[in-house]
Subunit: 675 residues, 2 copies
Amino acid sequence: MSSSHDPTKQNAIDMTNARAATSIEVADVRKFLNGGPLLWDRRKKIVTILSNDPVFDKSLRAFHSRQEQFLRGEAISNRLYELQELHKWSQEDMTIALSVMDEPLPIASHNITFKPVLELQASTELRSKYAAMTASKGILGCYLQTELGHGSNLSCLETTATYLPQTQEFELHSPTLTSTKWWSGALGKTATHGIIQAKLILPGEKDMGPHLFFVQLRSLETHETLPGRTLGDVGQPDTLCGWASTDNGFARFDHVRIPKENMLSKFAGVSDAGEYVTPPHAKMSFSGLIYFRSLMVTNAGWLIAKAATVSIRYATVRRQGEIGPDGLERQIITYPSVHVRIIPLLARAFVYLELGRALTRRVDELTRDLSVGDTTQLAELHHMVSGLKVLVSTTGIQDLETARRSMGGHGYSAFAGLGKLYADFLPAATYEGENSILEQQVVRAALKTFRSLSTPRPASLSGTSSYLCLIRDKALVPPKATADTWAKPEAAISLLEWRASLLVQEMANTTTTPDPSITQRVSRAITEAFVAARVGELIAALDSAFKPRAVAVVRKVYLLYLLTTLESALVDLLSLGLIIATVETATHNPTRGLRLAVARLCKELLPEAIGLSDAFGFSDWELDSALGVYDGRVYEALWAKAQQEPLNRTDVTEAYEVSIKPLLLRGQKIAGAKL
Amino acid sequence: MSSSHDPTKQNAIDMTNARAATSIEVADVRKFLNGGPLLWDRRKKIVTILSNDPVFDKSLRAFHSRQEQFLRGEAISNRLYELQELHKWSQEDMTIALSVMDEPLPIASHNITFKPVLELQASTELRSKYAAMTASKGILGCYLQTELGHGSNLSCLETTATYLPQTQEFELHSPTLTSTKWWSGALGKTATHGIIQAKLILPGEKDMGPHLFFVQLRSLETHETLPGRTLGDVGQPDTLCGWASTDNGFARFDHVRIPKENMLSKFAGVSDAGEYVTPPHAKMSFSGLIYFRSLMVTNAGWLIAKAATVSIRYATVRRQGEIGPDGLERQIITYPSVHVRIIPLLARAFVYLELGRALTRRVDELTRDLSVGDTTQLAELHHMVSGLKVLVSTTGIQDLETARRSMGGHGYSAFAGLGKLYADFLPAATYEGENSILEQQVVRAALKTFRSLSTPRPASLSGTSSYLCLIRDKALVPPKATADTWAKPEAAISLLEWRASLLVQEMANTTTTPDPSITQRVSRAITEAFVAARVGELIAALDSAFKPRAVAVVRKVYLLYLLTTLESALVDLLSLGLIIATVETATHNPTRGLRLAVARLCKELLPEAIGLSDAFGFSDWELDSALGVYDGRVYEALWAKAQQEPLNRTDVTEAYEVSIKPLLLRGQKIAGAKL
């Protein structure tokens, strides 16, 4: 290593060189990933406004206490709508502005749960009374479902809403400690109103199970808690310091009366006399959840894109280990053990972003269908988003952690930026439907379809169940994986579809003695087969989306997605006989071909890695990562951040007089010496 | 569900019943796990003292800011040694007291790195000058190795120690920003002295590579930073809020002179004239790291034990989902999807605790050997602890996260207690040797031994390499896994040894085209084969350790360890042909037998789960988890914790006037309405 070499300057040189090596037209790919030139343009304008506004400054947030983070979350919520008025942002602009926020905001509950549920399930009267105020944030809402003692089994919720025919009111009540509503975002300190899940009790103590009610929580004059309610924050909400910017709250109700019209009665109501009015479509209430979950696919795509951008940039400028041909330590991204971990994140981000966009279109169509009473797409979309929600939350969490760990020691620094994203995203495995519950729903639907195939009236196969064709058409036999398989998207897709089919078949044949992980594996296999088929469609459409050089590169990105999915499915592929091993193959491990194909693809994509991650279009403000800065000068960024640490305001810490000095003096006395 | 049922009271009933169901003598197992009745007795006494001392109170720490956590860490460090003096605790007592602390303490760097390295590597003169002060904490030390721009490749460190023959001094210097020492525990605000890795430069600009030097950092009079040093805290040290109680620091040196005697010169020195004196045993410097890493095995055992205790207790009292035979929702621990995840944690904790104890004995022996110049055990123990460090840090992180996620929504609460353990343990994958570097060392040693087998002078096989007998003795053929295999420890051990052998062979045969994950997989396979053989020995010794009922139960615990290890190794076992699948087996998945065996064992251990976790002996103070309280009253504990959240001190938050009110008023104006 040359002694005149300065690693700090080398950072910028390495980044410039890597950027120059990219062969694709980054601007084109960026427009594609952002949903077209118009949307990219809007995002850029909005990000410029936000990043220059002091309310959105991130430079000190790593040092904020929980309270400071919460106050900042509220200030951001307010300022966003102030800016909307100021700049006359459309609804779509606001969606973009909210989507580039990397904090869970108190306003999110209002937008993502309260408002859609009110719109979809309130009676016309209730809606017309509150729709304008809800849209304009004249009231702020939250959604109260989970209780301290009760989670996903809604039928066991304890909160009651008892109908009183005399006064035409419902009485909301929390009979026990465990019936306390718990975890609801914005419930603690922000929301003025809530929509609450409570057991509807009709005259004669008839328990009709959980229903939704609209209830005011705080005064619109003073913001004080209204009588009969006990409200509060559940406390430093996340174990890893996530979600500090929002007030997940608790609520108890002591015989609180609300008018009869406050029941959300579009699909189920109570007559004045107290008789239950049956809903025409019980499943209609699912569609709210479908909306929330579909958003998570795009959200996971952007998160993984951030993780990919930060880790690829850092690995490009970080040099460590062996001395390379330039006489310097090698850039760590050149080690296969590093790049096979982080290049696949690019692939997952590309796939999830496109998948999310397609899903949003499907859900918009569904919403239109439902508004005219057409429920034909409801079940299919419900299972699709359930499986996808599990997949993207599981892989998103893994990818964030993979990216962080790939950065070695500095990856642990709060200034690396990925830890906060991880902590904020982690609960995604539980909220909006616990993953294990959703898996059961996905699998149950698949088993039903599978069983119908041997009946006189087989279900028609499409979308999430089309892989079952392989089982239905008995003439088809599973392919043999060969070296060729790893170069052909269609072969990879076929293997993933066979895996799903054979696993569903195995599960159907072993229902009396299921192994405890089969539900999880079957759900994942079904969803991955579905996504793989969509990736096949994306590949087929590549020529119309990109110029030739980018087509070749993005094709590799999509193929890498398929191959890494296969790699994570190896136990299934091997145990189902889709990849064959024998004792004799011990010297010719049949999984080597796949692993080498992944390694080869990653290596081929290496010169494009910076270009592909630049194509996501993140500004330094959006990433807020000392390790992911655009210019690559990571060490200067880390140093500058550390200087702001509050402990560094004084040379001698206040712990000295209180604790360190007594410890030293005692030690010196014991040693009988003074140096 | 009966309407008179009170889930709060049910918590305590469920816990009492579960405790009564245990068949083993908990007290006996507890003594065993704690290393005998004497050590258990000491731990109990020490925990009683600590948990009644206000300095060690944990009731508000979830709400502490970084600064408050740091001040608490310093106060705890001081108080521990004050208590040592007060209660006349022995060194062994202090080891226990430090081991029950669940905070990374500033004093840890002094005890775990500074002191041992000084003792082992300093010259007699330097040692005699500082030994007493180091032992008594009259000075406080830290260890400066990693630099801002440089990690595990020590030869590329930039900090220099230039020998000046004229004055018989070394001049320490940080030539660049990237040479800044970074991450060292206690360096920021606590340590008065440090041992620093720096490139030794001899006259004529001869670069002799990294060596260790002793340097004072802060004044012993005022605690101010001495001239020529720039010291500080690297900032909120962990991305997930871990390590807040310690001051990971940075340091730069501007031509700081230290006397020649300050070089740690037991194994390598410089003559007065500036000539290098070659070390007799270059590897001697490894032995410090061996000591740190061996501690991590026991540490991981206790951490997993905590995760097991908390998750098993919560799953015992949490009821959710289906209505069971008692008319209540089922205890979640009764679901196979839950208990197959958390019961195996018991097994891993049992194994690691015993393994750690045996390892500590081996390392103590090694230390004695080394002090008389005997290095025969050094290489073997170095590879053993390297592999084990990787294994226990990897599985420990996974197990903590598995336990936390098994607890559903409440698992995300800071009051669940496991998140803090996770955040504090996560860096274990990187510190004291980055895992991927250690894996390379383990694998390199194995390949060397393997290749020697076909030479006229084959290496002797023992300990970490004994599994290679299978390859050496050509007559042996791999076993066929049958239903029986999953009931017999020896069969499971044999499969794990065959896997290690065949993978090493595969790697040796494919060095020209290695797949990128093979180093990781081979290292893991070797270490798991080694641990499996030790578990075989533990099983053989069971009859002498326990009464008959406990023997039967603990035997199942150890077998469960082996089977879950096999399950996590399925890709290898299948692809190496140790478990055979064919297309025809698609309806008879060959991995089902293993999965069902794991499920069966977990189910059989279910009635013992509370007893086995009680046997670790944790007090509520040690666990500090609302979900893991001994009496099972988890909801009351969560409620009580939430009431202490600082945001709950006022009903109306201070964010109301600043942010929420403007947002509401603007919305009401836009909607043109006031409710």
